[in-house]
Symmetry: C2
Subunit: 221 residues, 2 copies
């Protein structure tokens, strides 16, 4: 059997493996290394818990919907990481290393499933939903979802430049852009038209930011 | 059957139920309402994910140990919430409400178990542990655990007064005090001798704060 020369199973794979091209031609973006997959799984597991509790505590169907999107994404990542790990393992040492990584991946999927279970309470009919908003401490900030319209001046601006946090007290915790997600965006992350921003903050801050992102306010101040 | 007059199953129970007194005399503190139980379960599920990933990414056994403590605490809370729910349900409506709450509690426990699975990778022998630190982005801050010694000037001071965050850039994300936990402590939370602080930040900030909490530095500046 001919051995392929490989640098490291954890390093960057230069090309998309053939099985991926064949099976997932409908999917635009594929992370190509275990590192990328695992980093995104970690990011999702932190974000999804936050969103799931927020959805039920504030009875917010939109945020519950984001939980569902993330759950589907996590399934996909877990499938990919299993595939890539099995393709990569050549020696006993490889397999041991990868078994540990799969353990993290399985745990991340359990987390995302648990978040889905929490958010799915919103699908119950009103009378059987637990009265959760009563359980909230007053200090808790809400999580909101806002779509950026093309006519907003936020488009193609960096988060830091439009001063979202200093002017409104709202913090953008994630951005969904088509099928991509950006977790914990930084001040140099640009906002694009049709982005869905996941934002944490108060009702007052939300109102101003919503108007700005819908193009009804020229500037945040 | 005599009906007891009850205001609400979600309200504050004035007295510790009898079964608790009998069965858990060895435990000092018992949350007494569904609200308190569920709030703590939510806090734990957010904290434990963070700690679990941090433990494996930074190969930190101390943080893995905190994950284990929290996992045990979560089991206890889940047991309590099941007991209190079953004792409280008198009508079909009660039962429906409480079933929803138990669904959240079960999910919280799954989250904590998944976090435990992640942290348990540290118990593997060195050669079989996945090489995770390589997966980190450089920007990631670490999580540390520091015990406050009685001789430190931090004792009986409020977090805001000793300026932890502004002087060191470190953020205290939780405090373990004996069997109690304080999640997301605020600037008016006091620090006590023998507290274990769970702190997020950089190596440089950690060194100063550690010396201060061990009494080797008189003041943070």
């Amino acid at each position: 059997m001919k051995k392929r020369k490989r640098k490291s199973i954890f390093g960057k794979l230069q090309r998309t493996p053939k099985w991926k091209k064949e099976e997932f031609t409908e999917i635009e973006y594929e992370p190509t290394t275990v590192k990328e997959l695992l980093t995104e799984m970690k990011d999702i597991s932190e974000l999804i818990i936050d969103l799931a509790y927020s959805a039920v505590l504030f009875d917010n169907d939109e945020i519950a919907e984001e939980v569902k999107y993330l759950e589907v994404r996590m399934d996909k990542l877990n499938y990919d990481i299993r595939m890539i790990s099995m393709m990569a393992a050549r020696t006993k040492e490889d397999a041991e290393q990868l078994a540990g990584i799969l353990q993290i991946a399985e745990a991340a999927e359990s987390i995302s499933n648990a978040a889905g279970d929490i958010a799915s309470l919103l699908t119950l009919k009103e009378s059987t939903r637990p009265i959760l908003p009563k359980l909230l401490s007053k200090a808790d900030e809400k999580i909101f979802r806002i779509e950026v319209l093309a006519k907003s001046r936020a488009c193609n601006q960096k988060i830091g430049d439009i001063k979202v946090e200093s002017e409104t007290g709202m913090r953008i915790i994630a951005i969904r852009r088509g099928k991509y997600w950006i977790y914990n965006p930084q001040s140099d992350t640009s906002i694009k038209a049709e982005d869905w921003l996941i934002i944490r903050g108060t009702d007052a801050g939300y109102e101003d930011l919503r108007k700005f992102l819908k193009g009804q306010l020229k500037v945040l101040e």
